[in-house]
C-alpha cells in the first residue's frame, strides 16, 4: 500500500515536471486573438532567437502583422525559413504577414516566424519576454512570449500540418 502511494506520488511529480502544453495564454486586440506567443530558448552567445504565435482574425476586415519591438532584443522582425534541395534559407518578410477575415495564421518554426535580432541576453527556458506587436489595422498590442526549450516544437494544431 505504501509503495502504491509512493508510486502515485512519483508519477504525479514526474508528470508535473514533464514539459507538456504550456498553459494557454492569449491576447486580443480589436477582432484579433493572439494565441500562445512563445520563443525558443537560446544558447549562450546566440545573437538571434525565434518567436512564434497564432493570429486569429474573427473580424470582417483583413489585417497584417508588421513586426514590433521587444525588451529582449534590438529588433523584432518577421522572417520566413525555407528548405529546398537540402538548403536552408531565411529571408526577412518586410511586407509582414496578412491575416484575412476569418483566417488563422500560425507563425511557427521552419516557416514564417518572428525573429529577435541582436539579443540583449540569453533567452532561458521558463522566462517570459515582453514585446509589443504592431498590426496594420488593429494597432499595437502588448504580449509576453513564454520561453520554451531549445528543441521545442509547436504543439500539433488540428487542421494545421506541421510540414
Amino acid at each position: 500500500m505504501n509503495r502504491l502511494v509512493m508510486g502515485a506520488v512519483a508519477a504525479a511529480l514526474s508528470f508535473a515536471q514533464f514539459p507538456t502544453v504550456a498553459s494557454a495564454h492569449d491576447y486580443a486586440v480589436g477582432s484579433l486573438k493572439i494565441g500562445h506567443p512563445w520563443a525558443r530558448a537560446t544558447p549562450p552567445a546566440a545573437k538571434v532567437g525565434g518567436g512564434y504565435l497564432k493570429i486569429e482574425n474573427s473580424g470582417t476586415a483583413p489585417d497584417r502583422l508588421l513586426g514590433g519591438t521587444t525588451e529582449a532584443a534590438a529588433r523584432l522582425e518577421i522572417h520566413e525559413s525555407t528548405f529546398t534541395d537540402g538548403i536552408a534559407r531565411m529571408r526577412e518578410k518586410t511586407e509582414g504577414v496578412a491575416v484575412g477575415p476569418g483566417e488563422t495564421v500560425e507563425l511557427r518554426p521552419n516557416a514564417i516566424h518572428l525573429m529577435l535580432v541582436d539579443l540583449k541576453g540569453q533567452l532561458k527556458q521558463g522566462d517570459t519576454v515582453k514585446a509589443s506587436l504592431r498590426f496594420e489595422r488593429a494597432g499595437p498590442v502588448e504580449v509576453e512570449f513564454q520561453v520554451q526549450g531549445i528543441g521545442a516544437q509547436p504543439q500539433a494544431t488540428p487542421g494545421h500540418a506541421t510540414h
Binding site: R40, A41, T42, P43, P44, A45, A46, K47, V48, G49, G50, R75, S81, F83, G86, I87, A88, R89, M90, R91, E92, P109, N110, H113, M115, V117, D118, I150, G151, H163
Partner: protein, 203 residues
C-alpha cells in the same frame, strides 16, 4: 493434316517464346551484371568528404586525420541561425542519448559557414547548451570553403538591412570510421530513420 500443321505451329511458337525469354534474360544479365551495366552510384558520384584543416572551439588547429578511426556526423551551420542549427544539435543529442554508450563512438562535428562571426570562443559558448561531445570547427574563410567543397556542401552570404545571414546545407553527413561517406540525415527527418542511419555507421 490439320493436326500436324497445328503441332508444327505449336512447336515453332514454343521455340519463339523460349528464344524471347532467353534473350530477355541475357539482356537483363548484360545490363545488371554483364559488361553493359551502368556504373553504380558509388563509382559515379563524386566522393563526399575529404581532407580539411580547421580550428576547433579550443582554438587548436585540427585536420580530418584526427577524427579517423571513429564514425563522424558532420554538418554545416552557424551560431546566428535561430532554428536549423539548434534543432539539429538537439536532435543529434537526443538520438545519441537513445543509442546509449555506443554513441560515444560517434564524433559530431559542426563546421561553421560563418567564420567571420563564429570565432572559436563564440562556438565554445554556443555549444555549451548542447551535447558536450560536439566539436565546433571554424577557420579562415578559405579553410571553411575547402571543407564545404570536400563535403559538396553549400553556403552563401546574403546581405540584409542590418548585416547578413547565411544560406547553408541543412543535412548531416554520416561518415564511416575510415572517413568515407555512408549516408545523410535530412533536416526534418523522422527520429526513427535518422536513428537507423546513425546505427549503420556505428556498426
Amino acid at each position: 493434316m490439320p493436326i500436324l500443321k497445328w503441332v508444327r505451329y505449336g512447336a515453332w511458337s514454343a521455340v519463339a517464346i523460349v528464344s524471347f525469354v532467353s534473350a530477355a534474360i541475357l539482356l537483363g544479365w548484360w545490363r545488371v551484371e554483364g559488361p553493359g551495366r551502368a556504373a553504380t552510384v558509388g563509382q559515379n558520384a563524386p566522393a563526399i568528404g575529404g581532407p580539411f584543416t580547421l580550428v576547433n572551439q579550443a582554438g587548436k588547429t585540427v585536420t580530418d586525420r584526427e577524427f579517423r578511426g571513429k564514425p563522424m556526423a558532420v554538418f554545416f551551420g552557424f551560431t546566428n541561425c535561430p532554428e536549423v542549427c539548434p534543432t539539429t544539435l538537439v536532435q543529434m543529442a537526443n538520438l545519441t542519448k537513445q543509442i546509449g554508450p555506443s554513441a560515444d563512438q560517434l564524433q559530431v562535428l559542426l563546421i561553421t559557414v560563418d567564420p567571420e562571426r563564429d570565432t572559436p570562443e563564440q562556438l565554445a559558448l554556443y555549444l555549451q547548451s548542447f551535447d558536450p561531445r560536439v566539436v565546433g570547427l571554424t577557420g579562415s574563410r578559405e579553410q571553411v570553403d575547402a571543407a564545404l567543397k570536400a563535403y559538396k556542401g553549400y553556403a552563401k552570404k546574403v546581405p540584409t538591412d542590418n548585416g547578413y545571414t547565411m544560406d547553408h546545407s541543412a543535412s548531416v553527413y554520416l561518415m564511416r570510421a575510415d572517413g568515407s561517406f555512408r549516408t545523410m540525415i535530412d533536416y526534418h527527418e523522422e527520429d526513427a530513420s535518422a536513428l537507423a542511419k546513425i546505427r549503420m555507421v556505428l556498426e
